[in-house]
Amino acid sequence: MNPMLESFISESRDNLEEASQCFLSLEQSPNDPTVMQNLFRAMHTIKGSSGLFELGAFTHLMHVAEDVLDLARAGKIQLNSDHIDVLLSAMDQITDWIDELEATGELNTDADNKAQPHILALSEMIPVEHKEECDELSLATKSHQTTHRLGYSEIESSLGCLSDQQRFDIFQNADQLTFLRYTPQESCFFTGDDPLHTARLTPSCQHLRIVPVAKWPTIDSLDPYQCQLSFDVISSADEETLIDHYRYVEDDIKLCPLDMCWLAFPQGQWSDDQSLFSDVLPELKTHIDKESWHNIPNLIAPILELANPSVYQISCMRWIKAIAEKEVLEKPLIEALFTAIETGEFDYSLKSEVNSDSTESHQTDADTTTTDTGPQEEYLSNDVKTLLATQARMLEFSNSDDLEGRVDSVERIFNHALPEEFIPNNLLDVCQQAKQEQSANPLIILIRSLLDSTSPLETNSLESTENDAEETLDIATLVRQEQALRAHESEAAADESALDQTSLISPAPSPIDLQQPISDRDSTSELARTDLSSTQPVAKEPVHNQKPQVLKVDQHRIDILMDLVGELVVAKNSLPYLAKKAEDEFNVRALAKEIKSQYAIINRLAESMQSTMMQIRMVPVSTIFQRFPRLVRDLSRKLNKDVRLVLEGEESEADKNVVENLADPLIHLVRNSLDHGFETEEERVALGKPAQGSLYLRAIPKDDQVIIEVDDDGRGMDPAKLKQSAYRKGIISEQKLETITDQEALYLIFAPGFSTAEQVSDLSGRGVGMDVVNGLVQQAGGRVTIDSELGKGTTIRLYLPLTMAVSRVMMVEVQQQCFGISMENIVETVKVPHDRLLRIKQGEAIVLRDKVIPVLSLHSLLALPETQFEEEVPLLIMNLNGEDIALKIDLFHEGIDIVQKPLAGLMSQYNYYSGSALLGDGRVLLILNIKELLSCQ
């Protein structure tokens, strides 16, 4: 993708994020000027940058939104929640577009249609009396804005299909023309449109041509109920009238004013016999040179009557006559036609595109192109005059503080911009004088006199050059200039001029460029250049710049690096084995010692590398917390519950993957809380609680974990209800219904298929329950706990590891086989005398600190032979879903850090292994998923 577009996308995302936060804080404090200022700037930057990419609808929508904000900033609109709803939904559309841009590099064709409702909604916010203050571009000419424009290139082929006579008739019948292309939607017959009727009734229709949209399909695949036609209409009515006529199908029409000159091009058979008209040519030439147009018709008329109208030269003459009669007087056009008579080559179509507006812009062309070779001899170029006039204007604003600066800068510009012979001799003196008098007037007078003396054709130099300035800056003109330049260059057999190269760089100089990526044109040099310029900011940054530099890197690369570091950490563990081997097997003690000391160094490096790596991946949880103010706001408005969201500890950091995996469970929890947790305002007041509910979202860093709390002061969970509900749904047996504790009952909500909602609302309870939340958190290597007090509120805590890449497991041995068990669920390890194991019914249990804990044997779970313990039994006490169990094993080994890899191939279907890891000595360790194992029991 174009690096500039990439930068635009990431920058706009940041700005959108900031904007949406500002919107939310504006809702709390509508008159905060700093927030307003930040918001405005964020929006303005998005709009401004989008202008670089010709994203019509995008820029337009941003523009309208900015207008609204501008009025709000000036205090002319008071933003309320409804307004902010509209603005936020417009920003959502912008976000969608950014996604689109990222995916495809361009906007979908329906962007205009999508923008329309937002623009309407936004413009409704603007009070009538302020409407005209807003930019015409965005509001006033709504209908024109949405009507698609056609370019000359698009209608060229259509004009070419007209016969000479047809064009001639149209030319003579009308003074102004509009070209309109009406492409009805395929399904238009079903919406009651009658395209042919509509097209035929076009006001002042001069010509109607019907063409198939695409090549006709074969007769058996043709669907006659679909409209496959497009209508090209030339009308002498003005655009307003036409748009009004087509107002019901406005989206389906495109139009453009048709320059009369576009019709005038000769057609016909070239005749080698020049005798018939060669007599008149010299005289005709004289008339053209003298611009004595009225003489031309009389001169040509006799020939036209005599000659065969299908001859090319006669066609030229006929057009010359028509143009001369009509006062459209385009001299270049007549000259081109005249040349065509002599040479048979009509060379105007390009020029007509270049200066379709007026001959004036043609002059500007000439000036701009000549500035490269230095200003013209006698007069200053228009550009220089523009510049000087601007300086005069700038100087008018001088005040005592900055007068010197202004005068000095103008003096410098004089020296830079003017050819030596034009620099006034007294420039230095005048500048001195201005500074002494503390007034810019002497310099202004000097500039004016310079402008007057060098522009003998112009009466009021300042005004006209100001106009010139606008004209030079007019984008359309500039694009045309550039096209002209390019065309010129290609004619000149593409020599390697600086101009050509530079115009390649400019990202979107014309619509043609958009369709064709820049790099396609000259792939090697262009790529190299882009590459260069994108790396330059880093390379050229001066050393003394102390600003912290931020590097954006593709996450994939970090992941690879992370994996490599993980493997390095594991691989370095083989060194101690090697040292042992050197000592034991080869008896080289000295070498073993050296290996060990080297190991210490590598170990230190590897570990610091690992921790640095972790830090790189750390992001503050605020990146996901930021979404919640909006979510809570929207939901509470929708549910009509007044809820205040308080974010705490959002600066706490965790691994990017962990934080990202956290988003979905959290959204679910917050939704649940708002939907089921909070009472309505009336209920709360009746219960004596504050009318406004409080929802806390906290992130608490603790050791190598981060705890996320979702804490509400709503109605809390009723264990009795939960039990009943679970029993009804067959999740627990009757026996369990009686024995289950209240605390355990809370965890029933994690059971698949459990939902307490009596009614499914559209917010939560869509079949995605707490079991999914629990699953997601476990997947991220964390766990969930619930605390709830009936009537007081609920706190749900997510315990998450800081990182997922390296996890800690305990190695245990069962029947000479080693397995890993994730440390997350292990509470403690104990060794108890075997006679303390109690036999209860079929199972075993142990009383540990006055608590009965069921004992399971890992042997039986893994279908291995049981071990007979003589003295002490090693037990692993684990906490699973709030329940303690003890696991009987043979031997404890150490806890180790591992990089867990998912099982591949056949093994992947055994989900009682959560993965495997490589040990330092090269062995593979299987990691057990105890929860799965228990459920297989």
């Binding site: 401004g48 670089l52 510009i413 530079t502 400019s506």
Partner: protein, 123 residues
């Protein structure tokens, strides 16, 4: 080689202007706001400032006003770049002390011509 300082808070716009200017043979440096730009301007000499209006910390108007009052850099030409096209917006830029005014997005030809005039060419 002549040096240009691009002052704009939008990275994309800076990137665009940098490409334009570098293709014209200028050496380019960037600043993200007026404060940063003033700091850079005090450490180095530039031949032209290309200044955006709306920026955090210090906007373009203030930056140019400051420039005109600071002896070391007061004579350096400055071009203001804005999205607004009205006469009053232009005048606001001139009032601040800008030597020229461009409308975003600036086009190759215009900026080529006028930077050349304002700096006397890239060399």
């Amino acid at each position: 080689m002549k040096k240009i300082l691009i002052v704009d808070d939008a990275t994309t716009v800076r990137m665009y202007h940098r490409q334009l200017m570098e293709s014209l043979g200028y050496h380019v440096e960037e600043a993200g706001n007026g404060v940063e730009a003033l700091e850079k301007a005090s450490q180095d000499t530039y031949d032209l400032f290309l200044v955006d209006i709306n920026m955090p910390k210090m906007d373009g108007y203030t930056f140019i006003e400051e420039i005109r009052k600071t002896p070391a850099v007061k004579a350096t030409p400055a071009i203001m770049i804005s999205t607004e096209e009205t006469e009053s917006d232009r005048d606001k830029a001139y009032e601040a002390g800008a030597n020229f005014y461009f409308i975003k997005p600036v086009r190759m030809e215009a900026i080529q011509t006028f930077t050349k005039l304002l700096t006397g060419g890239a060399e």
